[in-house]
């Protein structure tokens, strides 16, 4: 083999020039601010993806509430107020929680795979920058997009639900002053015995009339019969008894969500979106492609988690406990309906079918975040570019 002799002159001119790698810590696993900023730009310029994120996180709640506002303004007797406590809980637990996770996961899957599929990963590796830094730059970049977007949608929901809340509390079809204590409700029931007796749900034995109808006959409450006359004192006593029975339910009904509930709920759905993004990022980096990863994330959120939250399978109970969706449901703020229709420990939907402590739920969530991040980073550092 003939070897090529080095040219001293040609080697000379730039031989003093050299690497600044030691100064820019190129081998460090920590990403730079510029890497994060440009990564945000790369994701933000994906118009289709951004449109989907905006539609789901902001558009759907905004359109839903706008329609309700208009309908209530046009026909207030037919359509109730746009906001209020019930609308808040339904929108947050029913829409923003589930769909926020899915769009965040889609963003994560995109961030985790596009460099590979679009051929940029190779260019980036050739810069000498640590592959781990390339991976970790995506996490703050993605969160910088998804967190404000979820916050914007949630702020709209909170604003409408508070400022367009009903003026009176409707409990069992009866307008009741909100925020009464047990004594207050009993006192109010004593003053409005007919509304309470005929309107509130109750469990017997109570046998009082609701009033006298247009034909002059006594109207009896459902399930009662056989009396024709009743004293005012009896009517009031039964009204108080019914109010006492219903206080537990009444105490969970509000005109609009409290400040604390809104704060807790906001943090809860932000955490859910962050989990969706980080898990999606790790999964897509592991697989090296977006479509299958997105499908798997949707299956996890729409199929597996609801199934496992509705059924406690004895032999799979620990697997069920290991699902991040169920763990998140356990951290749900009190006062919200259970997400997925089951499994929520903290919500108003009753006890969970799959019991786990808050500590276990937190551990499951941390394990998912750390585990998927580690898997994605590992694959990124080992993958052929």
């Amino acid at each position: 083999m003939t070897s090529v002799s080095a040219s001293a002159t040609s080697a000379g001119r730039l031989a003093t020039a050299g690497s600044n790698a030691s100064y820019d810590r190129r081998g460090s696993w920590l990403p730079t601010g510029a890497m994060i900023t440009t990564r945000i730009m790369e994701l933000r310029k994906r118009r289709g993806l951004m449109a989907a994120l905006i539609v789901v996180n902001i558009g759907i709640p905004a359109i839903f509430l706008t329609v309700r506002l208009i309908a209530h303004a046009v026909a207030p007797r037919s359509y109730g107020p746009a906001g209020g406590y019930d609308v808040f809980t339904a929108l947050v637990a029913g829409v923003m929680f589930v769909f926020g996770f899915i769009v965040a996961a889609t963003l994560g899957c995109t961030a985790g795979s596009v460099d590979l599929t679009e051929g940029m990963f190779r260019h980036l590796v050739i810069t000498g920058r640590s592959r781990l830094a390339l991976y970790f730059a995506r996490i703050p970049a993605g969160l910088a997009i998804i967190v404000p977007m979820v916050a914007a949608g949630f702020t709209i929901v909170c604003a409408v639900c508070v400022f367009a809340a009903p003026a009176k509390l409707n409990f069992d079809g009866v307008n009741v002053p909100p925020g009464l204590s047990l004594t207050g409700l009993q006192s109010w029931a004593k003053d409005h015995p007919k509304e309470v007796v005929c309107g509130f749900n109750y469990r017997g034995p109570i046998g009082v009339p609701c009033g006298i109808n247009q034909n002059g006959k006594i109207v009896t409450p459902p399930g009662s019969s056989g009396f024709t006359q009743i004293s005012s004192a009896t009517l009031k006593a039964d009204a108080v008894k019914i109010a006492t029975q219903g206080y537990a339910d009444y105490s969970r009904v509000f005109l609009y969500p409290s400040d604390m509930l809104m704060v807790k709920t906001g943090l809860w759905i932000e955490l859910e979106a962050a989990i969706g993004f980080i898990v999606g990022l790790g999964l897509a980096s592991l697989m090296g492609q977006r479509t299958v990863a997105v499908v798997l994330m949707i299956v996890l959120e729409i199929v597996l988690t609801p199934i496992f939250s509705h059924t406690a399978i004895r032999h799979l109970i620990n697997v069920q406990r290991g699902l991040v969706g169920l763990a998140m449901a356990h951290l749900e703020p009190g006062g919200l309906p259970r997400p997925f229709g089951g499994g929520g420990g903290g919500g108003g939907g009753g006890p969970s079918l799959v019991y786990e402590s808050t500590t276990v739920a937190v551990c499951v969530i941390v394990a998912w975040l750390v585990g998927w991040t580690a898997l994605g980073a590992w694959r990124m550092s080992k993958r052929d570019a």
Partner: protein
Amino acid sequence: MLDETPDAHFADGPWAVETHGLTKRFGDNVAVNDVELLVPRGCAFGYLGPNGAGKTTLIRVLLGLTHADAGTMSLLGYPVPRQRDRALARVGAIVDEPRFHGHLTGRQNLQILAAARERAARDRIEASLERVGMMHRADDRVSKYSMGMRQRLGVAACLLGDPQLLILDEPMNGLDPAGMHEMRDMIQTLVAEGRTVMLSSHLLDEVERTCDAVAIVDHGKVIRQGPIAELLAGAATKVHVGCSSPERAQSILAATALGAQVDLETAGLSIHLAAGTGRDTIAEINRLLVEDGIAVYQLQEVQVSLESWFLQVTSRLGESE
């Protein structure tokens, strides 16, 4: 204009690229086979081989895009992969077809790549675009770029790091004749600045025009390397003879012990002499023909091209196998 005198330390050593026993396997297929490669600094170096010879795989191994199974290597004097970050800080490369984020503009793609490099790289974006003649399309989306424009953007990406070493994989691919000419000029300018350009190609004519030295790779193994002039000096010589009676001249020369292959042509003979044959042999041919009464009108030694030499080398390999 790009920085020409960046200040920092640089590993010593005469070689921009140095490999010893470098091997890369894909299952049973040995894509890079015990490669010993020495690329001197400050020259244009061609890495030649037929399709599937392992050119791109070697480049991928050098750049850390895939791992080597055996052997050692260094870039700009830094051992790779141990000091990969230091080595690649002053290396620019295009591997395979240059691809970018199609939804971003050329400038935005460069911003992403500059962000992964040192801070000064961000200040070189405009100069890099200017240098490759892409300023007028810098704010267009890459999805609208032609192959040649993406190739230029790839070179601009290489220049962001003010590289000492550029590794270009098939840089002429997709370029029209004018683009190839510009690329050739650019490579020569980069070399004139003291940078090293290592390019892989199967376009032998382009390599011959552009490069100072080459290595020939076949079946993953480097079979020859050196300055082009030295390599061609050792190639078989071709002599064209114009004479009065070509058939008789052919039979005369075939009967001698010159060991030459003599082919009949329309206006004379084409004689292929073995590598290392001296000019005395050409004089001997002339003497033999004249002594037998054949009028010699023309006796011309034809310069061996890199392409014909490459074919000689690779066909010789084929014969040995």
